[in-house]
């Protein structure tokens, strides 16, 4: 999506991130013995696949000039409800349909609040995350921590813990979600419309694009993807901890999306950027882990790298006082 007037010598943020990732890969391969093994590389991607899938959902919202801060809450509570239902004897297939329905309903409300009530997306989804967690936790769930018991021996368990030809399912599903999302965004009409809307909502509306239904669609799709991520996460650790809602995970998701070069102002970037961002974080976290860097220090390093990326981006593609948009925070 790089505009044609950009000078030839400037790098896009994506190129910078790819370069950093490759540099880190080389560096770690040389310095760390156990880094460049097939097992470790697979483990590396497996570790970030949930983050990556959530990143795809977030990217979808951000490209359409929105943001979805409720995806983590949505993923946790909808899948926790699935587990709870199946523990109480509901067949897993029906439980999944109900859980997906819950997730989509939350997405629908998000979309409605943003599109029709016109609450700023940051605030609407932030509040919806709280509401969704509160609603499900107080009325549908019995505990903070829901174990996978009822469906422990079914195909459901296989989703997050199995593997196909040696590749863990979570990695495959990340790939699948990414490819589908990419194709939808690039080829289908709604996908192109989302770009148009993110680029300039007013112009998009003037040209006849049904902005409001599109926004709703965007949040509903994000919710569906989040549900997939939640299923994978739950089946890989056999439980859902709903207190994850209070964690920094959603910030990590934004980090992955933005670091890859998806512009927060909408209309810019693609799923490829999400993959690049996810890989960078994966390589970084994996390398730091092997080097035994403490968890909190890892957070600091991750954040500093994100900061560096956005500073470089802002220096290379400076925002102009004349063209910056009002209320664009």
């Amino acid at each position: 999506m790089s505009p044609s007037f950009r000078p030839a010598f400037a790098f896009t943020q994506e190129q910078i991130v790819v370069a950093i990732t490759l540099a880190l890969l080389v560096l770690f391969s040389v310095t760390l013995d156990s880094f460049l093994t097939a097992g470790n590389i697979l483990a590396l991607i497996q570790n970030v696949s949930i983050l990556g899938i959530l990143g795809v959902a977030m990217a979808l919202a951000i490209i359409g000039r929105g943001i979805d801060l409720s995806i983590v809450a949505n993923m946790a509570v909808s899948v926790a409800w699935v587990l709870q239902l199946s523990n109480n004897g509901v067949p897993i297939e029906i439980a999944i349909v109900m859980g997906l329905g819950l997730a989509l309903a939350i997405g629908l409300v998000n979309g409605f609040l943003v599109a029709y009530v016109e609450i700023p997306a940051i605030f609407a989804t932030l509040a919806m995350g709280t509401v969704a967690y509160g609603f499900v936790r107080s009325l549908l769930l019995e505990d903070n921590l829901i174990y996978l018991k009822g469906a422990a021996d079914t195909w459901f368990k296989w989703i997050g813990s199995g593997q196909v030809v040696g590749i863990p399912n979570s990695v495959l599903l990340f790939g699948l979600v990414a490819v589908v999302a990419h194709v939808v965004l690039r080829i289908t009409v709604p996908g192109r419309f989302i770009y148009a809307m993110g680029d300039n909502p007013t112009a998009a509306r003037s040209t006849g694009i049904p902005i409001r239904p599109l926004i709703v669609l965007q949040y509903v799709t994000a919710a569906a993807i989040a549900f997939v991520a939640g299923v994978i996460a739950a089946t890989s650790v056999d439980s859902v901890e709903t207190r994850i809602v209070r964690s920094n995970l959603v910030y990590d998701v934004i980090l992955v999306v933005v670091i890859g070069g998806v512009g927060l102002s909408g209309g810019k970037g693609s799923i490829r950027n999400v993959i690049v961002g996810t890989l960078l974080i994966g390589v970084l976290v994996n390398g730091m882990t092997i080097m035994n860097v403490a968890y909190t220090l890892q957070n600091i390093i991750k954040s500093l790298i994100l900061l560096t990326a956005i500073v470089i981006d802002s220096l290379m593609n400076p925002r102009d006082e004349q063209t910056s948009q009002q209320g664009d925070i």
Binding site: N144, S247, Y295
Partner: protein, 350 residues
């Protein structure tokens, strides 16, 4: 004549109704008086009736606080005292707020579950100063209050360390590398537990701590940290976890790494079936130190009863310590009934 007849009939009905009412209330009186006064039973019940009890847990919705609350609810119903539970949902600030709010309402006893050593210290003193007795649950604060019911964290950590030394120390043939997963650092579990671990390990220099981090009682955070630790130390021998609800995150990480049974995980907690015995049975925890929250609930009921019946003259001056007896659960000692079931406690009382 007709009129007179109707009046008479009306009178008849009235009389019958009156008789019925009197008879019924007589029966009720009999039902009450059925229990003979043994000299204490009526007096003690009267002393508790209508009193106000406040409870500020760290959060509701997990086994410990639910069991304690079940105990209090049971007594509140049985003796007719008024129980008010304020759930700050893991927020220290909200908890402090709820506590000071309770103090301003002047209940007859406040039960608190302090999230940190210091956070409630001033509030406990303040409550005592205003003549309100305070019962502290499980986590010891710097101020003693009137009754402390809970585990001796030094003891627990000693037992946990000894267990891990058994699997990782001399003669085990393992690396001797262990990791410690703490909860909230300013909590007595950490403050006293770490000292116990260090003191015990002094006698076993072959066992060394390679990672010592805090997960804030959060299983997902513990999971993330454990994944990192396991990867950084492929030859790790064991984990000491400080609370079962959090340690399931470690167990999941060990499982993901395919090292269940290979990496020991020594946990501790309230001995709830789902989070303790089940996890020992399926190999998630290798050793588990239980401080039996169901028993604590019982202790709490008794403590509240006694404080309500005989209020301390000067609250906070003479503190009673009720340290909970500890129970070590391993695969071998995991007998049926070693744990308790939360649903049953909720339904039938502790």
């Amino acid at each position: 004549m007709l009129d007179h007849g109707r009046k008479a009939m009306n009178r008849c009905i009235l009389a019958a109704a009156l008789t019925a009412i009197v008879g019924l209330s007589g029966l009720a009186a009999i039902a009450h008086a059925e229990q003979p006064d043994d000299g204490l039973v009526n007096e003690s019940a009267a002393a508790m009736k209508g009193k106000k009890v406040g409870f500020v847990p760290i959060a509701m919705g997990f086994d410990l606080t639910e069991a304690w609350a079940a105990g209090l609810k049971h007594d509140a119903e049985a003796f007719g005292y008024d129980l008010s539970i304020r759930d700050p949902n893991w927020s220290v600030d909200a908890g402090a707020q709820a506590f000071s709010q309770l103090i301003s309402e002047q209940p007859d006893v406040i039960v608190v579950h302090p999230p940190e050593i210091q956070a409630y210290t001033r509030l406990i003193q303040q409550a005592n100063a205003q003549g309100i007795p305070v019962v502290t649950m499980n986590l010891k604060a710097d101020a003693n209050g009137d009754v402390f019911i809970g585990a001796n964290w030094y003891d627990i950590a000693v037992k946990q360390t000894e267990a891990i030394v058994k699997s990782c120390g001399q003669g085990s043939g393992k690396s001797g590398k262990i990791a410690v997963m703490q909860g909230v650092l300013t909590n007595p579990t950490s403050q006293y537990g770490i000292q116990a671990i260090e003191a015990t390990l002094k006698q076993h220099p072959e066992v060394q701590i390679v990672s010592n981090q805090a997960a804030d009682w959060d299983a997902s955070k513990a999971h993330a940290i454990a994944v990192t630790v396991l990867k950084a130390n492929p030859d790790l021998c064991g984990f000491i976890g400080m609370w079962d609800n959090m340690d399931v995150g470690i167990a999941a990480a060990i499982k993901e790494a395919g090292k269940t049974g290979e990496v020991a995980l020594v946990s501790s907690g309230g001995g709830n079936q789902a989070s303790a015995c089940d996890n020992v049975a399926n190999g998630n925890f290798s050793t588990y130190i239980s401080y039996d929250a169901k028993g604590q609930a019982r202790d709490l009921m008794m403590a509240v009863r006694s404080v309500l019946q005989s209020k301390p003259a000067e609250p906070g001056t003479k503190s009673i310590a009720l340290y909970t007896p500890l129970k070590t659960i391993t695969k071998e000692s995991n007998y049926p009934g070693a744990c308790w079931n939360l649903d049953d406690v909720k339904k039938y009382g502790p």
